[in-house]
Amino acid sequence: MIDFGNSSQALNAMTALAAIGVAISSGEYLHQRHEFRSDGLFAWRLHRGRTSFGIRAIDRVVGRLMEEQVVVILLALRLTAAILLLLALVASLDAVASGTLAVILATTLLFHSRPGLGTEGSDQMSAVVLVAAALGRWFPSPHAVQLALAFVAAQVCLAYLSAGISKIAARPWRSGSAVVRIVSASMYGYEPTALLLQRHDWMSPAATCGVIATECLFPLVLVAPPATATVLFAAMFAFHVACAFVMGLNCFVWSFVSTYPAVLFVRAQTGR
């Protein structure tokens, strides 16, 4: 297992993995930039009524920033900043890393305040990681990095545990049919996998149980012996990769795996 006993190293690894996700996500939005036009799905005029900071001056500034041409510039800036952040972390250029992180954080929060962009759980985790990374880097307290990492580790444990428990409470998951039904719809499905699961009745309940068990047990990585922790990390990583291939949820891999250095760091502090 990778050793993240050093907090700065863990913070940099977490930030770098998150930056890759930010770069992909920004690139994907840029690829669909026509949707930000006034006749597009993401047109600001469709959604501006649903966002308010409660202060007219701020709403006006945000409205300007959300205009089509400005949004495209901001997305390009976000993509560039993510690439520069990665390079800065590799080359240990602290000032560049801080500057680019600031740009990414500002644009992430701005896009998060805007509904109707087809955002998903990976964007939520990405925002949590980026805010924590910024606090760890900038907050002037002696243990800011350690606290930020502990927070991210706690959030990802909460994420997996909530996802697992909510599945136990949901009927399609309890009946074991959820996986086959999800992959049988084209939104998150893949026909060969759907047909395979439809052909073999035992596969969907097995996959459903596996997903729920791994999600619920994940928080144990903080205290489990190395062999058990490795199995849990590997299982969750494989789950995200499988979701990327079968369901097209590519950004989840980067945003969730970016939290693993924080988990490994906290684990190292518990003496494991």
């Binding site: 925002a127 805010v131 243990h143 502990a150 959030q155 097209g248």
Partner: protein
Amino acid sequence: MLTSSLDWLLASVLAMWLVLSAVNQFGPDHAYWWSLKRFDVFGLLPRWTFFTPRPLTSDYHILYRDWDEKRQQPGEWKELALRERTVIAAFWNPQRRIRKALVDSIRGICRMAKQLGRADPAIQLNPGYITLLQHVSREQPRYPGTLRQFAVVETNAFYPERQMRVLLESAFHRL
């Protein structure tokens, strides 16, 4: 070990954020909670309950048709096709945002229709309805200024026996 007051300040803020995130998982339907959530303009209180309680297990098809002025009756339905997903989507999937935005819109309308009834004209003010109307309005009409209607049909895509259900039929809107 936390040694300074700044450490304690940061620890308190992060602990509060974590507690609020945990509470948000239960989605408490309480006026006090909603008034608190209004301040979360940046969406920093996550909801991690993926694919629950009702995972997306069917496909939505968006169709539209124009009013045929000559015959004074609606024309043929046409489907707005979305591009098929390939293996590349595991690394690069820009279409995901479009699909998600459309599904969010459709589910928003369905939630409202469940509360008010499908025939309630207030549905036309739903952000999802307006988004879908804008989406179908981009398709070139045969005659300028024609009237257009859209519909959402639900199917179960990869099952051998196909079932279809009309979820929504919009009014005719002038383009």
